[in-house]
Amino acid sequence: MASTKDPFEFQEFEEAGSLLEADRDAVTISIEDEKPRQAPGVSPDEEHLDSDDKTELLSGQKKSTPFWTFEYYQRFFDIETHHVKERVIGSMLPWPGKNFIHIYLRRNPDLYGPFWICTTLVFAIAISGNLSKFLTSLGKSGYKYTPEFPKVTIAATAIFSYAFLVPLALWGFLLWRNNKIMNLVSYSFMEVVCVYGYSLSIYIPAVVVWILPYEWLRWCSIVVALCLSGSVLVLTFWPAVKDDHPKVIIAIMAAILVLNSLLAVGCKAYFFSKPEPVGTVAPLNEGTKTMPATLKPV
């Protein structure tokens, strides 16, 4: 059914994507630099091309398809393999002065990455938590292996609510602050969701490391993952709040970091609890204590 002459719209999108790509090589740092660059000293041909590109992109953005149509959601999946790769790697390697939204998203936030990263993380946590429990209780008498399937549901609830409700709250807060104090930088909701989704990608390798039943190794990987994803979030949202009162800056950065570490430590405590000598009931009790803490801010 792969007919090559299918008049599908992605042809146009693909072109826009490749133009964006060409742009990316030219522009060095941020979106704001792009506007003045185009005014002086561009050859007429190039200017024509650029303005074409501009109008095409603008029309692509302005074309407001209602949210119940399929095309509306297709915008969020207008992405290619190498973009996803770059974004995942970019979210794992924060660099001072590098803003994830400006460098990688470039006004084209996608839902593909956040959704599939969250789904992968859900199953990674459930499966490796199960494996680690199996490894720690291996050889003990009276232990019977169980797949613990319901944990998938709990992991899904925790992670998806973190990845979508926290961005919603943060976006609302930024919008409110933006009305009070004029900020140069404002992010759309999809951009915030996208940053949060990609910032979770570092936890996937971390969770796989947690299979090994060494507590120090687990805490090391938690600290590393927390530092990386936390600094990506802080670096990204810094420009949006930096003109605000110092108290607000501290509060919002602290909230971002605390929520992030709550998710990591909560998952560690619930899914990878130390085997208690009493039996298999103990981790469950511990879990009921820690889970509300994970879900409370959400």
Partner: protein
């Protein structure tokens, strides 16, 4: 009189028309196809029920063969059906029943959970590939994903037989090998059918969810432990 006669036999005038050899004749003549197809449809009314069911079953079986030997043919895509996926899904969910301790928080997946994972999983994967700009239709993709569970269902049946043998380590190794092989097979087969419908720079984005989907099903099968 003549007009009435003409209207009763619309093509009567054509019998006098003779086409000489030098006039080029172009286009498709589709007139004889219509009636004969209608005849075919009529004939299914007369045939015994057994034949009708057998024909459908044969179509399903034919698609099973396509999955077992995934060459890039479009037969699985052209006439999709959801009977095969339903059959496979129900079989898999029934075979996964009776695992682990009952009524406990620690139990394995229940029938409904397996059913929901398979159907919602394939619906989400299909939506994902449509949103990425795939040219395959919704039900074609569902059909392919459903049929490609077959190696995993076979692996599940094998696992249940292997689990009858008490030796745990050997049986685990055998199950691991069988499930891994069938997982690879499922992913390979579905990729062979689905990947062609995507633009080349997005193939990996479509294949990854399919991989994850079959991986989760394979995990459920591998961790299945029956109650003693």
């Amino acid at each position: 009189m003549a007009a009435a006669d003409e209207s009763s036999r619309p093509f009567a005038g054509l019998s006098d028309v003779s086409i000489s050899g030098d006039i080029p004749v172009e286009g498709d003549i589709s007139v004889p196809v219509g009636p004969s197809r209608r005849d075919d449809e009529f004939s299914t009314l007369d045939e015994p029920v057994k034949e009708t069911i057998l024909r459908d079953l044969r179509a399903v079986g034919n698609k099973f063969i396509h999955v077992l030997y995934p060459k890039r043919s479009s037969a699985l895509l052209r006439d999709w059906d959801l009977w095969g996926p339903l059959l496979l899904c129900v079989t898999l969910a029934l075979l996964l029943q009776g695992g682990a301790a009952k009524g406990d928080d620690q139990s394995g997946p229940q029938f409904a959970e397996v059913f929901v994972i398979i159907w919602f999983g394939s619906i989400i994967i299909t939506l994902n590939s449509k949103l990425l700009g795939g040219t395959i239709s919704f039900f074609q993709s569902l059909c392919v994903l459903g049929y490609c569970i077959m190696p995993l269902t076979v692996a599940m049946a094998t696992c249940r037989i292997v689990l009858l043998v008490p030796n745990s380590l050997v049986s685990f190794v055998v199950r691991l090998v069988v499930v891994t092989a069938s997982f690879g097979w499922s992913t390979f087969a579905s990729t062979a059918f689905l990947a062609d419908s995507q633009p080349p720079n997005r193939k990996a984005l479509v294949v990854y969810p399919v991989f994850l989907f079959y991986f989760v099903i394979a995990w459920m099968i591998l961790t299945f432990t029956p109650t003693q």
